[in-house]
C-alpha cells in the first residue's frame, strides 16, 4: 500500500476539489471517488481484515444512493459532464480552490509541530488539503447540495488528519463515523429536495 499512497493522495485531493467546484453529475461522481480513495488511505494504516474499509464504503454508498438527485445516470449527460475538458474547465474557473488544495498539500507535507512530526506525511497532507478545500464552502455556501458535499470532504479530511497522528479509529468510533457519513448524506439530500420542491411551487 505505501507505494500507492502518494498517487492515492493526489487522486483524493483532486476528487475533493472537483466535489466542491463542479455542479451536478461531476460533483457526485467526485464524491464517490473521494469516498473510495480517502477510505482506502485511512484504512491503509491498520485494517487487516478490511472490515473498517468495507463498513465505511457501505455507509457512504447507502448515503449516496439516497442523496443522489434524479436523472444522474443518463449516459450521454454523464459522458459530457465527465469529459476531461469539462473537468479541466471547471478547475480553471476556480483557481482559488485549486490553489488552496495545492497549498494544503504542501502545508501538510511539512511537519509543523509534535505530535504531527511523528505522523504519516502522506495522510497528513491529504487531511490538511481536504480540510482547506472543504471548510470554506461548508461555512459559506448557500446551496444545500454543495454544503452536503463540502461536509463530506471536511469530515473525510478530519479523519485523515486524525488517522495520520493517532492511527485507525477504534471499531465503535469507525461505526459511529460511518453512520455519520450516511446521516450527513441522507439529511442533506432530504433537506435539498424539500427546499427545491418548495421553491418550485413558489
Amino acid at each position: 500500500m505505501p507505494s500507492f499512497e502518494f498517487p492515492l493522495v493526489l487522486v483524493t485531493i483532486l476528487a475533493s476539489t472537483l466535489a466542491v467546484t463542479s455542479a451536478g453529475r461531476g460533483a457526485w461522481v467526485a464524491i464517490a471517488l473521494l469516498a473510495l480513495t480517502s477510505s482506502a488511505l485511512e484504512f491503509s494504516v491498520a485494517d487487516p481484515s478490511h472490515i473498517g474499509f468495507i463498513l465505511r464504503i457501505s455507509a457512504i454508498g447507502i448515503g449516496l444512493i439516497a442523496a443522489l438527485p434524479e436523472g444522474l445516470f443518463e449516459v450521454e449527460a454523464l459522458r459530457r459532464d465527465l469529459a476531461l475538458r469539462t473537468l479541466f474547465t471547471t478547475l480553471r474557473e476556480h483557481p482559488v480552490v485549486v490553489a488552496s488544495a495545492g497549498a494544503g498539500l504542501l502545508l501538510g507535507l511539512v511537519p509543523l509541530a509534535l505530535p504531527i512530526e511523528s505522523s504519516s506525511g502522506a495522510l497528513r497532507a491529504a487531511g490538511v488539503a481536504l480540510l482547506v478545500v472543504g471548510l470554506p464552502p461548508l461555512l459559506t455556501s448557500r446551496f444545500i447540495e454543495a454544503t452536503t458535499r463540502a461536509a463530506v470532504v471536511t469530515l473525510a479530511g478530519t479523519l485523515l488528519l486524525r488517522t495520520s497522528i493517532f492511527g485507525a479509529l477504534d471499531p465503535l468510533a469507525a461505526i459511529a463515523i460511518g453512520a455519520g457519513f450516511t446521516c450527513i448524506l441522507l439529511v442533506g439530500g432530504s433537506v435539498a429536495s424539500r427546499i427545491a420542491k418548495a421553491e418550485e411551487e413558489e
Binding site: 505530535p115 454544503t147 471536511t154 486524525r162 450527513i184 427546499i195 420542491k197
Partner: protein, 529 residues
C-alpha cells in the same frame, strides 16, 4: 449465545433494543387497528408511550455496573449511571409529552424520543475517544432530520440545514482539540514547544466549543431558537436540550481531567471567556423571554438561559476540577426546560395558537396546564432551596467574579419572571380563542398523566428527589502515536501531562445529596471482575 450472554446484551443495550423493536411493533399496530377499527393513530400513540415507560423501567432494572457491561471483540459497551439516569427520567418525560401532543404524528415523535434516548445511553456507555461525541452529534442531526420530515415546511427544512452546517463543523473542532491534547504531553518533555498551559487552553477551547455551540450559548443562541421555532417539541427538546446536556456531561469530565493535569494557570482567557459567555447568555435569554410574545420563542429563550448555566458549569469544571457542582446542575436544567416544553405542547394543542395576546385566561380554562406551568416555575427556581440551588450558588462562587455572579443571578430572576408572566396571562380575562376552545374534564386519560408526570419531573428538577448526575469519566489518554509500520517511532519518554486520575462517574438516587461532596457515594460503578 448463552442465556447469560443474552441477558448481558439486553441489559447493556436495553434502550436501543426497545427503540429498534418499535420499528416492527408500531407498523403492526397501525395495520391491525386501521383494518379493523380505524383508530390506528391513537393506539400507536398508546403503544409508543408504553414503550417509553418500558424503556424507563427496564433501564432502571438493568442499571449500570459490570453485569451490564458488554464486550464484543474489542468493543466495550459499559452503561454509565448518568446515561441510565437520563433514560429513566427521559422515558417518563417524553411519554407524558407524547401523550399531551396527541395527533397523527404523536407516535412518530415517540419513536424519535426512543431513538434519542437510546443514542444518549449508548454514547454515555462508550468509554473511549471521539466515538461518544460523534455519536451524539450525528444522532442530533438525524433526529432533527427525522423530526422535520413528513411535513413540507420550508422553515423546518432550513432549520435542519442550519443545524447540519453546525454539526459538520463541530467534529473537526473535537479532533483538533484531541491533537492539541496529545501535544500537551510532548510540550511537557520538550521546552521548544508551546507551554502545556497554552496547549491545554487550546484543547479546552476546542472541547468547550462543542457544548457552547450545541447548547446554544451566546452568540450561538440563534440555532436553538430556530430549532424551537421550527421543530416539533420532542425534536426540539432532544436536539436543543437533552443531547447537548449529554454532550456537556462528557465535555465537563474531559475539562475536569484537563484542569487537574495542568499546574500552571491556563493560557489565554479561556475560563473568563466561557464565564462571560455563560452570564451574558443567561441575561440575554431572560430579557428576550420577557420581551417576546410567542410562547414557542419564550420557551426557546428559557432553553437559552439554561445553556448559560451549562457554560458556567463548563468553566467551573475547568477551573475547579474536583468540584461536582458543575455536573449536578445539568439534569435539573434539562428537566425544567422539558416541563416548559410539556406546557407549550399542551397549550398549543388545546388552543391552536402560540401568541400570548390570544391566550388570555388559559390557566382558568385549563387548570391542568396551569399546574404544569407552576411545576415548571418551581423547577426553574429550584424551590424549596436545596441541593440544586446550592450547586448553582457554588458555581457562582467558583467563578470568583462578583460581576459574573450578579449577572447570572439577575438573569435567573428574569427567567423566572418571564415564566411567571406566562402564568399571569392565564388569569387575565379569557380571549376569544381560549373561550371557544374545547376542553376536557380534569379526570381523564390524558390530563391525569400530564399532572402526575409534571409533578414528578418538577420534583426531580427542583431537587426533592435528590438525583445526582455525574460525568462519564474523562476521555482516556489519546491512543498510541505509532499504530502502523508507516509511522516514525514516537518519543520514548512517557507523556507526563496526561491525566492520571480518572474521576468516578456517579449517579445517586439516594435520599440526600450534598452538591459538593467528592464523586463517590452509593452510585459507584463496581469494577469488572
Amino acid at each position: 449465545m448463552t442465556a447469560e450472554a443474552a441477558l448481558t446484551v439486553i441489559r447493556a443495550l436495553f434502550p436501543m433494543l426497545t427503540a429498534l423493536s418499535s420499528l416492527a411493533l408500531l407498523p403492526l399496530i397501525r395495520l391491525w387497528r386501521d383494518r379493523q377499527h380505524d383508530d390506528a393513530a391513537t393506539f400507536a400513540t398508546f403503544a409508543v408511550q408504553g414503550m417509553l415507560l418500558l424503556t424507563s423501567v427496564g433501564t432502571l432494572l438493568a442499571g449500570a455496573g459490570y453485569v451490564s457491561t458488554l464486550k464484543i471483540g474489542e468493543i466495550t459497551i459499559d452503561p454509565s449511571e448518568p446515561g441510565r439516569l437520563l433514560v429513566v427520567l427521559g422515558g417518563i418525560v417524553f411519554a407524558v409529552i407524547v401523550g399531551a401532543g396527541e395527533g397523527r404524528r404523536a407516535s412518530v415523535m415517540g419513536q424519535i424520543a426512543l431513538f434519542g434516548l437510546a443514542a444518549i445511553d449508548l454514547a454515555l456507555a462508550i468509554p473511549s475517544g471521539i466515538a461518544p461525541i460523534a455519536l451524539l452529534l450525528f444522532a442530533s442531526l438525524a433526529i432533527s432530520g427525522a423530526a422535520a420530515s413528513g411535513k413540507d415546511d420550508v422553515g423546518r427544512a432550513r432549520a435542519v440545514f442550519r443545524d447540519f452546517r453546525t454539526i459538520s463543523l463541530l467534529l473537526p473542532a473535537v479532533v483538533i482539540a484531541e491533537i492539541l491534547r496529545t501535544a500537551i504531553s510532548y510540550a511537557a518533555i520538550d521546552p521548544a514547544y508551546a507551554t502545556p498551559a497554552s496547549l491545554a487552553a487550546g484543547t479546552a477551547l476546542g472541547v468547550s466549543l462543542v457544548v457552547i455551540v450545541a447548547a446554544g450559548v451566546f452568540p450561538f443562541h440563534n440555532r436553538l431558537i430556530r430549532i424551537f421555532e421550527a421543530l416539533p417539541i420532542v425534536g426540539s427538546l432532544l436536539v436543543g436540550v437533552w443531547i447537548p446536556s449529554a454532550l456537556a456531561l462528557i465535555v465537563m469530565s474531559e475539562l475536569s481531567a484537563l484542569g487537574s493535569s495542568i499546574t500552571d494557570p491556563l493560557g489565554g482567557a479561556i475560563v473568563p471567556g466561557i464565564l462571560l459567555a455563560g452570564a451574558v447568555t443567561l441575561i440575554f435569554g431572560a430579557i428576550s423571554a420577557l420581551l417576546h410574545d410567542d410562547i414557542g420563542e419564550i420557551v426557546g429563550f428559557i432553553a437559552v438561559g439554561n445553556a448559560g448555566w451549562l457554560a458556567l458549569a463548563a468553566a467551573a469544571a475547568l477551573s475547579s476540577p474536583t468540584d461536582t457542582s458543575s455536573r449536578l446542575i445539568v439534569l435539573p436544567g434539562m428537566l425544567s426546560v422539558s416541563l416548559f416544553g410539556l406546557w407549550l405542547v399542551s397549550v398549543r394543542r388545546r388552543y391552536g395558537t402560540t401568541s400570548i395576546s390570544e391566550l388570555g385566561g388559559w390557566a382558568r380554562r385549563t387548570s391542568a396546564n396551569g399546574i404544569v406551568l407552576i411545576a415548571a416555575i418551581v423547577a426553574l427556581a429550584a424551590l424549596p432551596p436545596g441541593a440544586v440551588l446550592a450547586a448553582r450558588l457554588n458555581l457562582l462562587l467558583l467563578s470568583g467574579n462578583p460581576l459574573i455572579a450578579v449577572l447570572a443571578i439577575l438573569g435567573q430572576v428574569a427567567l423566572i419572571a418571564a415564566a411567571v408572566r406566562l402564568l399571569l396571562v392565564g388569569f387575565t380575562p379569557a380571549s376569544q380563542a381560549v373561550h371557544e376552545a374545547e376542553t376536557r374534564p380534569l379526570v381523564n386519560l390524558i390530563t391525569i398523566p400530564l399532572i402526575v408526570g409534571a409533578l414528578f419531573t418538577a420534583a426531580a428538577a427542583a431537587g426533592w428527589l435528590a438525583l445526582e448526575s455525574g460525568g462519564t469519566g474523562p476521555l482516556p489518554p489519546a491512543p498510541s502515536v505509532s499504530p502502523g509500520a508507516s509511522f516514525d517511532p514516537a518519543p520514548s519518554a512517557e507523556p507526563s501531562g496526561v491525566p492520571s486520575a480518572e474521576p468516578t462517574p456517579t449517579t445517586t438516587t439516594a435520599p440526600e445529596v450534598t452538591p459538593d461532596v467528592s464523586p463517590s457515594g452509593s452510585g459507584e460503578i463496581s469494577p469488572a471482575p
